[in-house]
């Protein structure tokens, strides 16, 4: 099984496809789960404390807004851990964890910097697109090998 970073990291479709074709999706939910299942100081709702934007300094300098650095504390380690990535480029309506365009630009850049298999797509707009979309993902994921 290969660890596949998905973008948008909140995507139901990509999360499903990666798991369906036998690999492990790295998503926002798994990062948030880790935060809320770790003891520390109370910081609802996401258990992201003011320490997280400081951890984010590893990926973005201090003059970068706190919200970007806090988000990078979730995504930075995942980008480092991933072995492949699927990116949907026209994900303009992914909110919350993917709600900041500047963070999203940085995430895509960092994924592009990694020498890993990467598939770039747009969302399907009709049934014909849907077939091409699923086929491309299936080919990509099968090609990674080691599927469960």
């Amino acid at each position: 099984m290969v660890k596949v970073f998905i973008y948008p990291a909140t995507s139901l479709i990509l999360s499903d496809m990666v798991a369906r074709f036998g690999h492990t999706p790295l998503s926002s939910a798994t990062a948030i789960r880790e935060r809320i299942q770790t003891a520390g100081l109370e910081s609802p709702p996401l258990q992201i404390t003011p320490e997280e934007p400081k951890k984010g300094l590893k990926w973005a300098a201090v003059e970068v807004p706190a919200g970007v650095r806090g988000r990078m504390s979730l995504y930075g380690p995942m980008i480092e851990a991933c072995e492949a990535a699927i990116i949907i480029n026209d994900a303009d309506l992914a909110f919350g964890c993917m709600g900041c365009a500047r963070t999203n630009e940085l995430i895509k850049f960092l994924v592009h910097q990694k020498d890993i298999p990467r598939l770039e797509l747009n969302y399907p707009k009709n049934e014909e697109d849907g077939v091409k979309f699923v086929a491309a993902i299936k080919r990509f994921l099968t090609g990674l090998g080691g599927a469960k």
Binding site: S43, P45, P65, A66, R69, G70, L74
Partner: protein, 412 residues
């Protein structure tokens, strides 16, 4: 138990900066409750397109749609809190435009704030308190005349002020630098009572405001303990006799500055603090000290000089003082240096705070610094308007408190 004030949050980033609970906490402390206006995806798509500000961040699109749902009455709220990350240009544009949009198209009070991961509930408290007051205490803020015998106290970061008022007239005042909060308060109260020729027992109602309002308010058993944003707005339009229609109130304080856009005496949009000490009353105090004059002499001195001859525009009080020392060493006159210091403070407040409120005439300057003519002159030049400085402007918070406190006099 009274219903909490429902504060709609429009934001991008606080959950990820680790400060969402600080916002919730600040709202709770002043009887408010934060909520997120519910919108569906189709609303977001339609309203984002309709608003016409083509930003890229999805959470800002969501904030725009939520703002429109509030303005169009699809979601009910008592007040609005807009918060985005400090240093994000995209969010700053949205924050300003949403604030303006809500202010122009609804009666909802709005406060906007740009946060960092260091923002605490304490920082947000005064703003939230003003927001809940405006939302829920319109009846109290509607008061236009002072009645009976009341005492108002303003426990500020730099100075403590008290006034005694009777039947719409100021009959006693007290003023001194704040040292120990309670001691300073007791002394100015004693002075104001002595000047008014009344005893503490005769006072029918008491109001407190300023940084020390809770501590002092509890000690002297105040009827009204209220933040300085609403109190000063009220005091300003009352003293300037501009209780109806629009006005802009500017208060450059010892520690932070307030710029308030007022309508019929009630704040609509306001900003508070935000700049470094180079844009505070403290910097003018240090300037006076370095020039060897009393703070009261700084105004007349600066009016004899020309600030344009001395470069001075530092955010920082240390570097600002350095510019001052350098200018004097290079042979600049004390008059020019005094004028430059006034211009520097006015310019920074103008550039960094007044852009966040809509300036509407009359512009009323209040607080101790409004007595420094050079500062008022510099602000007037920048805003291209004649600034109103009402009588007793240095007692603004105390007057506002005494005025509002008269609403608490029990009818016998």
């Amino acid at each position: 138990m009274t219903q909490p004030v429902r504060i709609a949050q429009l934001s991008c980033g606080p959950e990820y900066s680790g400060i969402q609970h600080e916002i919730d906490e600040a709202a709770r402390e002043v009887g408010g409750e934060i909520f997120f206006p519910d919108v569906a995806l189709k609303d977001i798509r339609r309203d984002f397109a309709k608003f016409g500000l083509d930003v890229k961040s999805p959470d800002l699109k969501l904030a725009i749609a939520r703002a429109m749902a509030l303005v169009e009455g699809r979601v009910e709220a008592d007040a609005v809190f807009i918060a985005t990350c400090f240093r994000c240009a995209e969010a700053a544009i949205v924050r300003n435009e949403l604030r303006r949009y809500i202010n122009e198209h609804s009666r909802l009070p709005v406060v906007s704030y740009s946060f960092t991961e260091r923002t605490t509930s304490g920082t947000l408290l005064t703003r939230m308190e003003a927001l809940t007051t405006i939302a829920k205490r319109r009846a109290l803020l509607a008061r236009e005349t002072q009645k009976g015998l009341t005492l108002g106290l303003d426990s500020g970061s730099a100075t403590t002020k008290a006034v005694v008022m009777r039947d719409n007239k100021i009959i006693g005042t007290g003023w001194q630098p704040t040292t120990e909060v309670l001691k300073s308060a007791n002394e100015v109260i004693a002075h104001a009572l002595a000047e008014a020729g009344v005893s503490r027992d005769e006072i029918q109602a008491v109001g407190t405001t300023g940084y020390g309002r809770f501590l002092v308010g509890k000690e002297i058993n105040a009827d009204l303990i209220q933040e300085e944003l609403t109190v000063n707005s009220k005091g300003a339009v009352y003293l300037a006799n501009r209780q109806h229609g629009p006005a802009t109130v500017i208060d450059i304080g010892g520690m932070d500055n307030k710029a308030i856009s007022v309508m019929d005496g009630i704040p609509g949009v306001f900003t508070m603090g935000g700049i470094c000490a180079g844009a505070s009353g403290r910097f003018l105090e240090m300037t006076a000290k370095r020039l060897g004059v009393e703070i009261t002499e700084l105004g007349p001195l600066s009016m004899k000089g020309f600030g344009g001859r001395v470069p001075m525009n530092s955010y920082c009080i240390v570097f600002g003082t350095q510019s001052l020392v350098n200018a004097l060493a290079a042979g600049s006159t004390r008059e020019d240096v005094a004028a430059a210091a006034c211009h520097s403070v006015a310019e920074q407040v103008y550039e960094q705070q007044l852009q966040e409120v809509d300036i509407k005439e009359p512009v009323i300057m209040v607080g101790g610094t409004s007595l420094i003519e050079g500062l008022v002159f510099a602000m007037g030049e920048l805003l291209q308007t004649k600034i109103v400085v009402p009588p007793y402007s240095q007692y603004i918070g105390a007057v506002g408190s005494a005025l509002l406190a008269s609403g608490f006099i029990k009818d016998d």
